[in-house]
Amino acid sequence: MSSILFYILALVALLGAAGVILAKSPMGSVISLLGTFFALAVIYLLAGFQFLAAAQILVYAGAILVLFLFVIMLLNLGAMGSRFELSFAPLQGGRARLAGAIAVALALVGLIAAQRTTLAATPATAPDAKAIDGLEGIALELFGRYSLPFQAVSVLLLATMVAVIVLAKRQRAGEHGEEPR
């Protein structure tokens, strides 16, 4: 039962992911991404990770995608028309092929790595889903063993934010014919 459900959800997630890059309008992409996020959240639920599922919906569907929608509506990017339309233009051209090849290679590396680590982990060392999913388990892992990577990621986000502000400011200064300071 749950494995059938998993394959259905995986299919939905993949179709949504394909829709993100194939949809003609940005709004279509966002709706497809929403579908993918929900399918992933239910897969987490099936695996017993309730917190992860709730966090997935809360953070990605509830906050980040709303921000995307805000930007799309603010810029009023292209009307979608009365139904979803797909465009296969992103899949054509030499650059797209190169990018696709790199992405497939990276995905393969990830899959092989995942396969090796799950094979290497005996049931004794494999983390117990219940232990990880408990809030305390997550907190201990996040602020204990992984506290340095966790902080590094937040610094990365901060750096990205600063970079975006600098770039946006420079562009605006250029528009008004001023030299960036």
């Binding site: 309730q50 917190f51 809360l58 906050a63 921000l67 929608l69 509506m73 603010l74 009023n76 979803f84």
Partner: protein
């Protein structure tokens, strides 16, 4: 009676609870549409609806029938799929969030039955995750309508929701830190054991004020109802909607208000606990919960017909420059207080 309840199959209890709580929510939402008109009439020295049924009590029913039989219009150039989907997206998450609210405990003989649809360890996460989705109705409805006013309404809804969700979550986290659990039932229990509602603790009081402000913004209510601000945007995101789809947006809004009132009661006012009466019978507890939630529902209406609407930039300034820093500082102090006060024990 007790033996009879014990012998019932489990699913009977589930169905009964879902029917009572869900039906109660929808009925409350319908009655709120009447209460809104009645209270506004009372405040403005008018009568309000009083023709259908005693005191106009059947007015929501008449409205419902009217909405069902009205003609539905879909504007030209609208995205039909999203246009039809949006009202459902506005109503369903708001209705689903009621499932984890602990309304009390039903006691028959020695058997205790928790009076809530689901007792979830991560109840607050569930509520926040689903509650955050209710804005999709306004955004997608506004976008799919292919109209300037709707688009602006949807745009405002998304900006407002992102701004105030942070304050809302941070003020809820204060309660979580004080109670040490994400389970709403455990939060009520912690307040009962301490004999102190969270609103009477200094941090809790501040969090309560912030939570109430943010809940007005989250439910799109006055003085923050910019997504449907009539003088500027005609009807905002639902300008192009008619008949039952329009009514669904309202049902969603009133359901969200009801859930927020219940959540406020649960987080800050001890849920079903009765002050100075620790061993109150279970029905008094449920009654206490309903009275407290009813007060917060009245507060929504009271504020709407008392305060003028903000300006959008004022809303953003209040959200980002006042409410958010205070909420962050509050959480920081609570965190420190909890960490140092529990260290010794």
């Amino acid at each position: 009676m007790e033996d009879f309840v014990k012998e019932l199959p489990v699913w009977v209890l589930w169905v009964a609870k879902v029917a009572i709580i869900f039906g109660g929510l929808v009925a409350t939402a319908a009655l709120m549409s009447l209460a809104e008109r009645k209270v506004s009439a009372w405040m403005q020295y008018r009568h309000g609806p009083n023709r259908v049924g005693p005191f106009g009590l059947l007015q929501p029913l008449a409205d419902g029938i009217k909405f069902i039989f009205k003609e539905e219009l879909i504007p030209a150039g609208a995205n039909k799929f999203l246009f039809r989907l949006a009202p459902a997206l506005a109503a369903i998450p708001a209705m689903m969030t009621i499932a984890v609210i602990p309304i009390g405990t039903i006691q028959i003989g020695e058997t205790k039955i928790p009076f809530s649809i689901a007792q979830v360890d991560l109840g607050i996460m569930y509520m926040l995750a689903l509650g955050g989705l209710s804005v999709y109705g306004a955004i997608l409805g506004g976008w799919a309508s292919n109209s300037k006013y709707s688009l602006l309404g949807g745009l405002r809804a998304s900006a407002q929701m992102i701004s105030y969700e942070l304050t809302l979550i941070l003020s809820i986290l204060v309660v979580v830190a004080l109670s040490g659990s994400l389970d709403l039932g455990a939060i009520v229990e912690a307040q009962r054991v301490n004999g102190l509602w969270n609103v009477f603790t200094p941090f809790g009081a501040l969090a309560f004020v912030l939570f109430t402000i943010a809940s007005f913004a989250e439910t799109n209510r006055h003085p923050f109802d910019f997504a449907e601000c009539e003088p500027e945007l005609v009807g905002g995101f639902h300008t192009e909607y008619s008949a039952m789809r329009f009514a669904l947006f309202f049902l969603g809004e009133y359901c969200a208000m009801t859930v927020m009132a219940c959540l406020n009661t649960t987080l800050f006012f001890g849920g079903p606990s009765v002050p100075f009466w620790a061993n109150a019978p279970w029905y008094v507890g449920i009654l206490a919960f309903l009275i407290k939630a009813g007060f917060f529902l009245f507060l929504f209406i009271w504020v709407r017909w008392t305060l003028p609407r903000f300006r959008f930039d004022q809303l953003m300034r209040l959200g980002w420059k006042v409410a958010l820093p205070i909420a962050l500082a509050n959480l920081l102090v609570v965190g420190a207080w909890v960490a140092f006060s529990t260290k010794g024990s």
